[in-house]
Each structure stands twice: as C-alpha cells, then as structure tokens.
C-alpha cells in the first residue's frame, strides 16, 4: 500500500513539474521543445497510423460479422449504428489505441529514458541548464496526447469503414443509411467521453513510461524491467481510467 501511494505521489510530482516547466517555457526554447514534440508525434502517431487503421478496419468488419451472425433475422441492420457506437466508438476505439500506443511508444519512451539515465544524459541536461522536465517530459506528453487523439479519430473512422464494408457486401446497406444509423446512436456525451479518455490515457501512458524509465539507476538489466513494469502498470491505469469515465458518464 505504501509503495502504491509513493508511486501515486511520484506520478503527481512528475505531472506537476512538467506542467510547471511548460508554463514557464520561454519563447527562445519553443523551437527546441517543438522539435522534440514533432519527433514524438512522428514516432507515436504517424508511424503507428497504418497499424492502428489496419487493426481498426479488421475489428470493425469482424464486429459486424459476429453481430449479424447472432442477430440475423431479427432486423439486425437496424442496430448497426448502435452496435458500432457502443462497441467501437465508446469503448474499443480509445482502449485498443491505448494498448497499441503502450506496446509501441510507452515501451520505447521507458527504454530510451532508462538508457539516457544510465549514460548520464539526464544529469548532463540538468547541469547545463536544460530542464529535463521541459526537454524530455513535456514534448513526450504533448506528442503522445496529439498522437493518441489523432489515432483514436483514425481508428474510429477505419472501424466504421470496416463495418460498412461488411454491411454493404452482406446486406446491401447504403452509405447514407449506415452513417445515419451511426449518427442517431451518437451523442455529445460520447464525444466528451472520448476526449476525456484521450487526455487521461495519454497522460497515464506518458508518465508511467517516464516514471519507470527515469528510475533506472545502476545497470542495463534494469531497462527491460522498466519496460515490463511500464506495460503492466500503464495497461492497468488505462483500464481503470476507461472504467471510471464510463461509470462517470454512463452509469
């Protein structure tokens, strides 16, 4: 219990210091921090785009195939929109995107920061007036935030595309009918839930990775341990956040 509270305290400390360093950002430092943020967006967002959209396309198609196989004859095509919104847009979109980002980026951030810590790079930054919170943590947070938001949007779009393909090929559903069905099932609350999930999930992913990466102190063997802890801990955090937001908005 004490360890868990210490972990929470450390997470809050990281968030607070990073926020504070972001608010104190000087105009001359914008280019450096912006450059690092762009790199993070390229790695976390752009490079993962095909993987995320491919996964979403298949998931959308499989969801409709399975749903129709169970509900055929009951007028299942009338529930297409509700199914897609309930299963994909509300839950699986943010959740699976987070899982993919943890697998690709959180692991990389933890390993990179761990190696930097061992090599004395983090100390060198601090000594030479380069605030590590501003140079290392802030760009990663912003980069992951922008990337997760973009990936969730593309995930949802690709999943809807996959679902539409199945609906079109198997039941001859038109694009207009499909989109109208989705639109009717969507509410402003779904948009708010997705935005909240993106903000909290991207923060949890980044700060879990930074916490475990920066704790590496003595040997190379700590790096894989930090990566494993990051994955397990970030996954738990993401599921907890998802559950809390669902309970808050839909319960």
């Amino acid at each position: 219990m004490r360890g868990f509270l210490e972990f929470l305290g450390d997470q809050a400390h990281l968030v607070w210091r990073t926020l504070r360093s972001g608010l104190a950002l000087r105009s001359g430092q914008l280019a450096v921090v912006g450059g690092q943020t762009k790199l993070q967006i390229r790695f976390t967002g752009l490079d993962a785009g095909v993987l995320v959209m491919g996964t979403a396309l298949l998931l959308g198609a499989v969801t409709l195939i399975q749903a129709f196989s169970q509900l055929s004859g009951l007028g299942a095509e009338n529930y297409i929109g509700t199914l897609m919104v309930l299963i994909i847009l509300r839950e699986l979109g943010p959740l699976l995107t987070a899982v993919l980002v943890i697998g690709r980026s959180a692991t990389a951030i933890a390993a990179e920061l761990g190696a930097m810590q061992l090599n004395g790079e983090v100390d060198a930054l601090a000594v030479h007036g380069v605030d590590p919170y501003r140079y290392l943590l802030l760009p990663r947070w912003l980069g992951v935030l922008v990337s997760v938001f973009a990936l969730v949007v593309f995930f949802d779009a690709a999943a809807l595309g996959g679902g539409f393909l199945v609906a079109r090929l198997k039941y001859g559903v038109t694009w207009g009918f499909f989109m109208e069905s989705v639109r009717q099932a969507l509410s402003n609350r779904d948009f708010a839930a997705t935005l909240l999930k993106v903000v909290f999930i991207s923060g949890a992913i980044t700060f879990h990775a930074c916490h475990f990466g920066l704790r590496v102190q003595r040997s190379q063997t700590e790096i894989p341990q930090a990566v494993t802890r990051t994955v397990v801990s970030a996954l738990v955090a993401v599921f907890v956040i998802d559950g809390l937001i669902a309970a808050l908005l839909y319960f």
Binding site: R26, S27, G28, Q29, A31, V32, A115, M116, N119, G120, E121, D123, A124, L125, A126, V127, H128, G129, V130, D131, Y135, R218
Partner: protein
Amino acid sequence: MIQARGVTCEAPDGRCLLERMDLQVPEGGNLLVTGPSGSGKSRLLRVLAGTERPRSGALRIAGIAVWPGDGALPLAGRVRLGFAFAAGGLLSNLSLEDNVALPLRFLGLGKPEVARRTADALARLDLEAVAGLRPHAVSGAARKHTNLARVLALEPQLVLLDDPLDGLDTVDRAVALELIRAWAGNSGRTLVVAAEDAQAFPWLASNSIQLALAATSPEPR
C-alpha cells in the same frame, strides 16, 4: 561561489567517502580534488553539480540552495554551470555539434550566436571533422573533447571537470590542458578539477584550494 557545510557522501556499497566536509570556494577561485580511484572524486563533483544528493549536509552555489533542495534545477537561468563528465554525458541521439549547441539554444540565444559559439568551441577542440557524427561513432577522446567544447561554448561561471585528461593522447591532452589553463587563469570563472594525479596540473597546484581524498576500502559485512 561554492559553499558546502557538513557534506557527507557514501558509496553505493555504504562506504563513507566524505564525512562532514566544509568547503568554501570564492568566485573566480580554483579547487583541485585529488585522490585514488574510488575515493569519491566523481561523486563529490556530482554533488557539487547538483545531480547527486549527499547523505547529509548543505550546499549552496552562488547563494542558491542546491542541497537540501532540487539539485541543479534551481540553478537553470541563474548560474551558468558547465560539467565535463569523465564518461558519457553526451546525448546519444544528437550529433556532437547539436550536443554543444543544445544548452545555448535553451538559453534563448539567437541562431547566429549559437552557430558562432558552437563553431568556435568545436574548432578550439579540433572537432570540426567529426562535428556531424553522433557520440557512438567517434573515439573516446573526441567524446571527452566534446564535453569540454560544450562547457567552453556555454561560457559558464562555474566549471566542473571530472578527470578531463584521462584516456587522451599527447596531442589531445595538450589541447585540453591549454583550455583548462585558460579557465584557471580567468578571475571571473570558478574552476573545479578532479584528477587522480595533481602532477598534470602544476600551474593549478599553486593557485588553488586542494582537497585530497583518501582511499577507502569496502567494510566487511
């Protein structure tokens, strides 16, 4: 510039390396820390740089509390500090040139000023030919020189050098020594050098505070 009171440092195995050390180095003064390998020279420098917390004691740099406190972070933007590490310390995903330029960019200097200072520092340390390469692609001597070039370009008020001549051949050593000698003679700059052998810095021995650390052996458990 440096005010340390009752600083106690321990090795990772629990050995006491420094016990209740009091130290005052005035602005523009020099400090030469000598001692055999494992005596705690590097650890003392990291404590002075604000990257390693001492077991106990207080440290102020230019009147700013470093320990107890947030280490080097409060010094950013208030005291310019340069540290040439004995090993590592360069960002592995940046070229040597970018390693030298990064602290200058963070200071908010204009692009022409950053380019001028970086080019001058690289030229002074004979690094122009390898400036575009990353640390892993150059020799250990070039990495050591890049550490010095970063310090030189930053024009710091406090310079900390950890074994700056270790692993350098005669030519590289001469280049580094010339630079360190210039720093030692600058009355506006405080210099701290940690080295196993004080003989390499005869001119520093005569105008510096000297701190000789004794070898300690692991305690039987």
